[in-house]
Every structure is written in C-alpha cells, then in structure tokens.
Symmetry: C2
DNA sequence: CTATTGATGAAGTCTTCACTTCACTAATCG
DNA sequence: CGATTAGTGAAGTGAAGACTTCATCAATAG
C-alpha cells in the first residue's frame, strides 16, 4: 500500500478522462465555453447525456457551469488539468528515484 | 470536427488510465519492475487479470514486458507519460489561445 | 396568453469491460 | 522422474456506466 496518497483527485480526473466523449468535450471546451445544446449537437448525443457528462467533469474539477435563464453555459476549469499534471510529475519523480537507488536487480520482492 | 488530431495515442493512454486498477499498477511500476505474480498479489486479483491489464498498458505504450524463463517482468515505459504530457499542453495552449482571441461572447458556434 | 425551446430528474436498456474459472503449457524444484 | 509454480488462452459472469426515452419545469418568443 501507500502507493496512492493525496492523489485522490487525480484519480477522479483520470477516471473522467477515461471516457472518449468527455475527452471530446474537454477538447471542445478548451476552445471556449459552450451550452448544453451546442455540446449535444457537436457530440451527436442528447442534452440529457451532455448534462450527465458535465456533472462528472464538474465533480472532478475539470469544468464548471452556470445557468443563466434557461441556458447552462459550461467552461473549462484551468486548474483541473494541473491536478493531472501533478500526477504525471509524481509518477515521474518516483520512477527516477527508483532508477537512482539501483542499477541492477531488484526483483527479490518475494512472490 | 478537427478537434482531435494527432492525439490518437493520448486517447489510448487516457483510456488505459481510466481504470483504477491500471492506475495502481502504474503507480506500483513507477517504483520498479514487477512480475505478473507480484502484481497479482499486490492488487488482489488473478494473474490472468494482471496479464490482461499488462496487455492494455503495453498497447498504449505505458509499459513493456518480457518473459525470461517462465517469469514475465513488466516495467514502466517512461515515454508513455510524455504522450499524456503533450495532451495536457495542447489543451492548455488551445485554452489560452481562445482566451486571447476574445474577452467576451463567443457562443455563436451553433450546431 | 400560448407555443416553443433549453434543460433536468427518473428510470430503463444495452454494451462494454474487468474479472473469474477452467484447462493447458512450460519452466523450475525435489 | 513427478510435483509445484508462472503464465496464458478461451469462455463466461456480473456490474458499471453511457445513453436513451418520457415527463416535467422554467424561460423566452410570437
């Protein structure tokens, strides 16, 4: 254990980005805010489905949205990607540290 | 369209990292190489399942493995994470460019 | 006002996929 | 040699989740 720690939110971001539709949404939103309807048109899915994806993206901090009148506008949240950045950096740092500690065998971690 | 382009392999990496078990595997492998059996023990799943996950990680370039005798040893592939890094950078660049281009409304992208 | 439009909750369908069991092969140990 | 041990292919199970339809509500349009 102790492998993951304080990476909890990176978990949710990676989980969210595991879905291709949400990846396309992020790519689209990186070009500017969009409404539920416009995203539905872009993605070829129902508004209901878009709303569900937005909820996931908001939950992990990748996006936020607000409703003005009857129109909900969704925007990318810049900070969300930095969490992912931190995760990558952490894995890399761990990897490099493990390379320093040795140069040869290290397979005697039992079975 | 034209939203995704040349990001095809980032797609597979994000798809692979969407699974929590594979994320744990990556975290474990960042601390050094491991055998199928040791990963199975660490994760609490069968060797068969581990083998399937390794196949996915190899397919997207995040890991590679080789079999010596009857033991397969799996290692992280450093370059794999840089693909993900590039994806983040691309989204950020697009985001910042969209911020430059305007300061107000841009919702007339219709469907 | 009525009609339309944007969005959302509830609930169901259906596919994907993580994981298992079983059977088998090959390498190592005694 | 026979007995474990490491791994893998095939095939099946089960659950997660992406998406839909339907019904409803509120905001805007005419």
């Amino acid at each position: 254990m102790a492998i993951d720690a304080k990476l909890i939110s990176a978990e949710s971001v990676l989980s969210a980005l595991g879905d291709p539709t949400r990846r396309t949404m992020v790519a689209g939103l990186s070009q500017g805010p969009a409404t539920v309807s416009s995203l539905a048109g872009l993605l070829g899915i129902t508004r209901t489905a878009v709303g569900q994806h937005i909820a996931v993206l908001e939950a992990c901090g990748l996006a936020h949205s607000e409703k003005l009148g009857r129109v909900r506008t969704c925007r990318l949240n810049f900070g969300g990607l930095s969490v992912l950045q931190d995760w990558i950096d952490f894995q890399r740092a761990t990897w490099e540290r493990s390379l320093d500690q040795l140069g040869e065998v290290l397979l005697e971690d039992d079975e």
